[in-house]
Symmetry: D2
Subunit: 122 residues, 4 copies
């Protein structure tokens, strides 16, 4: 596939968010506490698109271009605030995601958890 | 800076998540509805680190390496599920984020919203 | 039914929460902002019990006494923080709920929304 | 005080919600999974009123009647869905809240946690 995700670095998207915040002098409101709230609020708005659907019906949403665009906007907000939080805290996202996936692989060995949704409480 | 985010594409991180899910045959549980719930739950766990702090104290969390690592793990979970959702729905993240930032810039013109947190209801 | 809910006033439960907070001198941490975060976090923990279940399977959870007790604890936390917020803000809950149900009835007339989950965006 | 909360039982408010749902034949959509999502979404909408405020400023919101009414509506939604979930699962709220407050008192002994917000991870 020749999609933008193949050519776009995480740093490029982070800079887009950082510039937006800087141009509005919003860093003063972007304490990690506030940004974590904004992120949770956007996650809820994303979830709102699926709340009354069955799990099966939620899979079909991707075939409706209009609905998909709406969901894409909410997901962009979630990712935008995730990047804003990383910017405020000085966290490297690629490192954090890679480290967590290693930890997840240890916690959920593939052979043991294949096809099982019952996971130990965390 | 020579951080991994400068050299890592969004597609590389998405593939990491896609492989993890495929190796466990978890796509059957990853309906968009379920993944949106998982994302909101992780966002709440991230927020938990800041819930009793003042906004100022939350800014200092970044200076505590142990706390920062904990927050980094939760943020990695949020981003991981964001990518899992994009994978299930076939959404290009870079396009979605860029389009949303253009829309945000129109909604919050820099000269009008500089230093103001009072935003119109959305 | 002769259940406690039939004989317990909202004010009695509110006082239970108010006394708990006062005995620990926690009102200083119970700013409405912080309590609203705690409430959202507890709501996510409640949701966690249902995240990988189908909607049908979630209905059967009530037949498992152990699971039901766990869910009851999370719901108690949600309601506890709801009452804590009402205490901090000086809101009468019965009045707020009654007023909102009247508004909901106007927004979703029974004859029009019977058996329909598609609701206008709010 | 002569407020409605002093004279209103939990069961009365639960019945208000149960009748509303029954009149619209919405129980079919009110699986515990779906209601837990709706509850988390309403909790996020409540939190939205406080997201950019300092903790101190959030305390003053109670002095603004218009803002207080808005927050009261969101809190009513949270409580409404809490009661809807209890209705679907057949849970007695007063019993659940009382039992949880006893457990909380054991977990956070008053003399040890007085004036301290640092709580053990749960």
């Amino acid at each position: 596939m020749d999609e933008p995700d193949n050519k776009t670095t995480v740093a490029e998207l982070r800079k887009l968010v950082a510039d937006f915040v800087a141009e509005r002098d919003w860093s003063q409101f972007h304490s990690p506490k506030n940004v974590s709230m904004a992120l949770a609020i956007e996650a809820a708005e994303l979830m709102e698109h699926f709340q009354w659907l069955t799990t099966d019906a939620s899979r079909e949403l991707g075939t409706n271009p209009e609905k998909l665009a709406e969901v894409g906007e909410e997901l962009a907000d979630v990712i935008g605030y995730s990047f804003a939080l990383a910017n405020e805290l000085g966290l490297d996202i690629s490192s954090a995601v890679r480290a967590k996936m290693v930890k997840n692989a240890q916690k959920y060995p593939a052979e043991k958890y294949r096809g099982r949704y019952e996971r130990p409480n965390t």
